[in-house]
């Protein structure tokens, strides 16, 4: 099954990491990326630009309403996502827990809608 792993984290927390933690954080991401690519599990995913670059669009009465900022004003914001091919939810949860950001934020795991 295909799962999307959405990474929600407070940017300030990642920015505020000590030199040492920061190095470990990026090294772990490197290893993670290498692993999901080598195993063929990764079918998509990107890191995102900081939340300051977000723009929201709504169409109401056939009018485009464009606002600066993210959809939801919460501390933890969408920072990136992965699309992984997993055996089942247990495996997807395991790979969510392995993401370095899981220690600081929340990983939301969502199955991809399956077309029959």
């Amino acid at each position: 099954m295909k799962y999307v792993l959405l990474i929600y984290v407070d940017e300030a927390v990642i920015k505020g990491l000590s030199e040492e933690d920061r190095a470990a954080y990026f090294q772990q991401w490197g290893e993670y990326e290498g692993h999901v690519q080598a195993t063929g599990m990764k079918t998509g995913g990107e890191p995102l630009q900081p939340i300051g670059t977000a723009t929201s669009v709504r169409v109401r009465d056939e009018e485009n309403l464009i606002t600066d900022g993210p959809f939801a004003e919460t501390k933890e914001q969408l920072a990136g996502f992965y699309v992984l091919e997993c055996e089942n939810l247990d495996q997807a949860l395991e790979y969510a827990a392995k993401m370095p950001d899981a220690k600081y934020g929340t990983i939301e795991v969502r199955p991809v809608f399956q077309k029959y």
Partner: protein
């Protein structure tokens, strides 16, 4: 015969659903098919007789029903390839007994108690799937409207299917925590029955009995799979339930009022349950993997061993509560430890310890904190202070039977004050 059939359905339900789930990963479809099979069984068995292997009989009929439904349902057409081996199977009566269905119930239990499901959904699904109770019964036991409970079950089954919650025994590294999740569900079920939620006495006993039956089943299934390292806590919980349950006949008087442990008629306690609980606990402790359920069972056993309430070994009980507090820090445990200390070292000591907790915001709205203060003041004949604490306790207590008990105590205190 009606009762026999009801009993058979209860035991067959989990077994049949589990064996079908191994082949068709669609909970809703399977459950409907099993219900249909039960209806057919009732009419047929009353005309003929109960077959030798009723689970297999129901399983075969349910499998056919499921197949019919799949064929009728166009959206399943593409799944039919998967079902090839099902559709070519035919059965004769002999085969029912020659092909006993494989027992997949442990996988089903792990699936129903998967942490990706909300705890209340795990509880509802486990009770529903393993047969003993109808959706109406479960709704009553957990004090929610029937449509809410039905909706909860539907959502849980859909999440299992759509999110890919696996039907399998978890990997060794996560078995311990996953067994803990099952035990938490069992204990919630037990307590829903044990705590005097509703006026329906029979209902409560049914729910508790179901929790005991399911925990026993879990124990047997883990034992058969040789998952022995997870067993001591399962035995601990089973012992705890049996020991607590032994006191059920003495807990409530004819008017439905709660009787505290200290004042219970101990002759009414179920000796069989006490013995079984003690034996299970003994065996569990020998495996030397202590856990929170075993510790709570020890406390319950220490109460069970006292022929009179004055004989209670409060010294040991307070030691076990200290151990429990280290493993599972919670205000309830803390309060219980203080009660045990008060019983050995005197109520003043207990109140001194409670004083230190008084400013803890977690406890301020917790009725047992106030009830404990009230009880210790009562023992010291500080009637006025006891009254104040009973009044606070009543304010925060949400359980009818418990509130009635507190009101009776309050009234008692007031009689001591009036000249």
């Amino acid at each position: 015969m009606q009762d026999d059939i009801a009993e058979i359905f209860k035991n067959a339900s989990g077994r049949v659903i589990a064996s079908l789930y191994a082949q068709i990963q669609d909970f809703e479809l399977i459950e409907d098919a099993v219900q249909d099979a039960f209806v057919i069984a009732i009419t047929q068995w009353q005309e003929t007789s109960i077959p030798e292997n009723p689970s297999a009989w129901i399983s075969v009929v349910a499998r056919r029903k499921a197949l019919d439904k799949i064929r009728r349902n166009q959206t399943y057409v593409r799944k039919l390839e998967k079902l090839h081996d099902l559709s070519v199977m035919t059965y004769t009566d002999d085969e029912f007994s020659l092909n006993p269905i494989t027992d997949e119930r442990l996988k089903l239990m792990f699936m129903c108690c998967h942490p990706a499901l909300a705890k209340e959904a795990q509880v509802a699904l486990t009770l529903r799937t393993f047969g003993g109770l109808s959706t109406e019964d479960i709704a009553k036991a957990f004090l929610v409207p029937v449509p809410t409970m039905a909706q909860r079950l539907v959502r849980a089954k859909r999440k299992i299917r759509d999110a890919g919650i696996p039907f399998r025994i978890p990997e060794p590294k996560s078995i311990a925590s996953r067994v803990d999740a099952i035990l938490a569900v069992m204990y919630l079920i037990y307590n829903a029955g044990y705590t005097a939620h509703t006026g329906n006495q029979l209902m409560r006993q049914d729910v508790s009995a179901e929790a005991i039956r399911l925990t026993r089943l879990l124990y047997n299934l883990l034992h058969r799979e040789k998952i022995d390292f997870a067993i001591p806590e399962v035995m601990g919980l089973l012992a705890l339930m049996l020991l607590n349950d032994s006191r059920a006949p003495a807990r409530i008087d004819a008017q439905g009022n709660l009787i505290p442990l200290e004042e219970q008629n101990r002759m009414l306690w179920h000796q069989d349950k006490i013995r079984e609980g003690q034996q299970l606990l003994e065996q569990a402790l020998q495996m030397k993997q202590t856990g929170v359920y075993q510790l709570q069972a020890i406390i319950s056993a220490l109460h069970a061993e006292a022929t009179h309430s004055e004989d209670t070994d409060w010294e040991q009980i307070s030691v076990v509560y200290s151990l429990l507090e280290q493993m599972m820090p919670s205000p309830v445990v803390q309060l219980n430890r203080i009660v045990a200390v008060a019983m050995t070292k005197g109520a003043e000591q207990g109140l001194a310890l409670l004083d230190k907790l008084e400013n803890d915001s977690k406890l301020a709205h917790y009725y047992l904190f106030h009830a404990t203060c009230a009880d210790l003041h009562r023992r010291l004949h500080n009637w006025q202070r006891a009254i104040t604490y009973y009044q606070q306790a009543i304010e925060f207590c949400t359980n009818d039977a418990e509130r009635r008990y507190l009101n009776n105590r309050l009234a008692e205190m007031q009689t001591y004050l009036s000249p």
